[in-house]
Point group: C2
């Protein structure tokens, strides 16, 4: 792991990436069979070093900040890029939490005897080499590497070019921590060139990379999905819905619908479209509108909603298909749960939907029929999160259906192989 | 479902495939929530019709056979294409067996309360629309459709052009059976054009297709993997190994190593390279060679093996990397279990490997460290099969690590979503 804290000038990027891949593949074989104690020792060492060597991280981060200001990065991007003392503490805490999780590797489940006499079970095993492609937040370097390592995987990290020095500084600490625990430093590598073709190579090396996890905005994720020749665990939009059913409890409905939108505006599990049963609209929309107004939320409604609350803007088809990530909410009055589920089937991004109802049959239908990664009854969409679900940590939230769906923790970074025990058994 | 039993001339294949995809997506929503009883009724109806209307299937199959002979298809291909009475009975039996399996859809697992008060669990749900691309065997049409339906999925089947009439006849029976059970016939569609561009479209419609399962030779699978823009559950090679350890029991070792190669030659779980510890080679290789010779197996050995059994041909690096699917076996003498695992890491296709040993520590290391979809102790590689593992049926054997690994049954054709139950819970 280089500690030069400078992007490397590389002539042959393809060969460089193949070298990175080859080292990752070799390290993956060692990290896959590392004892839980050794992995945890490396992670606790890393947490310790992040704190004790914070000056080293901050110095590198300041280089990125200076270059970022000179390049005219906007304030939001600079904010995401900056590593403060508090953020460095949080980074170390996150790594410590991951060290404390149960080790998933090697667990055998479903072991059962078969009529032939063999015993068949499934053993949880690492995926191998995971490529993480992310944007400006340098804390992802520590978080993602720690989670992948805990699950027994090698990692290739490709962060945003604006964070290259911060990422290299953190990666150097990871490498040193791995070595201190007797594990290969090459189990975590940061791509040390800002050359954009490096990403294309990373996406197209199935011989070296088993899965890619993009973490960033829609543009990045779409690019990765389009160009990857290896499996991708990805999260596209979070167009989340709350449906207030005819049989909803008024107070719960208002509390949950307001919490889902206002508790945090810019997260993927934030409510973007509120659906409400026609029979409850006149009663509840004025209360809801008042609460949203108090929280500074702009409302855009269908015609029926605007007939009840007249200061809403009109919502268009485009509103139903938009993830605002902002202080805007679209509201639609629907006939019943079927109409709500039809709307969700058409416009949802498959992230998280919640129904407010006291009717058991309606709740069961919604839970069963809505095809999203999280489906809720009488709970805020804001709960759709690896920590809230008890995964301990998450690498992201998958809106795919294959392999991992919803918040992805250690289990999503592993696979299961079959194990078979016989005593000289042959097949006839 | 057309019953015209003739390939359709289609001008705009892209539009045709989008229409097929749109119908599949619509049908998927209905089949996903179908009652287990309705799905089973459709499958039992199908089994009954396959038998009672066998003349209809055989007539269509004869059209394919006649065209195939005229086109000069080789004997092996014509054999795979032909539907005999026995094969039709077996097809019906397979469908009946699938009807008898437990319905995976809707099962909730791991439901637990979280500190926030919400309850979080995971519900097994269908994947949605599955595209199956296969070659000449028309029985795949019934098998694959039945398994996908049982798991609550809609299916688009694209079989080999040489089997188009057989496939259409079987698909017509499936459609009629679905309708008889009150389910949408469009839940199973056979692509009714032999235009090759149809496959390209099927591989690149993520809005309509959730996963592709290619079933066929290496060329087909590689083509699908290269061009798909949706996830693929695939099986490439089966270069399977048996390693006879220093601590192997001689009789078990000979029995298993011979069974793994000779019980069936052309299957993906057949042994292709035998590894043997140097300390046991002089004792066991002559016995093994005799048994293999008796079974008509050609042996290709490393130098050390040929020094013991002198009528082996020399094995080259290419032999270690070859899936013979034939009466040929390569044999290599290795120092110990580490050398065996190094050989496997380098040459295995990640399908199935088995160790023969009575030593617990060595067995544990092999099981843990070998990175293949099935890893066995003292058992024939021929057991790597969905039926032997108790899955009831299989859509194929995955050599990928993502989503499904090893034999893929109903569970591999489903996913899990998170379900959350609250009582007005908000996040703070």
């Amino acid at each position: 792991m280089s500690d030069t804290l400078t992007a490397v000038e590389i002539e042959d990027v393809a060969q460089y990436m193949r070298d990175v891949g080859g080292r990752a593949r070799a390290a993956a074989r060692r990290i896959a069979v590392a004892e839980p104690g050794a992995k945890n020792a490396a992670l606790l060492e890393l947490a310790e070093r992040i704190v004790s060597q914070r000056e080293r991280i901050i110095a590198a981060n300041q280089r990125d900040m200076t270059a970022g200001r000179a390049a005219g990065l906007d304030a939001a991007l600079l904010d995401r890029l900056e590593l403060t003392d508090a953020r460095i503490e949080a980074m170390a805490d996150g790594v410590r939490q991951i060290a404390g999780l149960a080790d998933p590797v090697g667990a055998i489940s479903d072991l059962a005897a078969r009529p032939s006499g063999i015993q068949v079970g499934r053993m949880r095993v690492p995926l191998g080499v995971i490529g993480i492609i992310y944007e400006s937040r340098p804390n992802v370097t520590a978080d993602a590497a720690a989670l992948c390592l805990k699950a027994g995987n090698a990692v290739i990290l490709r962060g945003g070019s604006e964070a290259i020095h911060s990422n290299q500084a953190i990666a150097a600490l990871i490498g040193e921590s791995l070595e201190a625990a007797g594990l290969p430093a090459t189990a975590v590598q940061v791509v040390e060139t800002t050359d954009r073709t490096a990403v294309r190579h990373l996406l197209t090396m199935p011989e070296f990379v088993d899965v890619i996890v993009p973490r960033g905005g829609k543009g990045l994720v779409a690019f990765v999905a389009e160009h990857a020749r290896v499996p991708v665990i990805k999260h596209l939009d979070g167009i989340c819905h709350v449906y207030i059913d005819a049989a909803a409890d008024a107070d719960k409905a208002v509390a949950v619908a307001v919490n889902a939108k206002t508790q945090r505006l810019g997260t993927c599990n934030t409510l973007e479209t509120l659906l409400i049963a026609r029979s409850r609209a006149a009663e509840l929309l004025p209360r809801l509108a008042q609460a949203y107004r108090d929280a500074g939320i702009e409302l855009r409604g269908c015609e029926a909603a605007r007939a009840i609350v007249d200061d809403m803007l009109p919502a268009t088809d485009e509103d139903w298909a938009t993830e605002y990530l902002d202080a805007i909410l679209s509201i639609r009055v629907v006939d019943d749960v079927d109409a709500a589920m039809d709307h969700i089937a058409r416009y949802s991004s498959g992230h998280t939907e919640s129904i407010l109802t006291e009717d058991l049959g309606t709740a069961r239908r919604f839970i069963r029929e809505v095809d999203s990664s999280s489906v809720m009854v009488n709970a805020s969409t804001r709960f759709a999160d690896g920590f809230e679900y008890g995964l301990g940590a998450e690498i992201g939230i998958s809106t795919d259906k294959i392999h991992a769906r919803g918040p992805v923790g250690l289990e999503g970074l592993t696979s299961q192989k079959y194990v078979v025990y016989g005593d000289g058994h042959c097949r006839y």
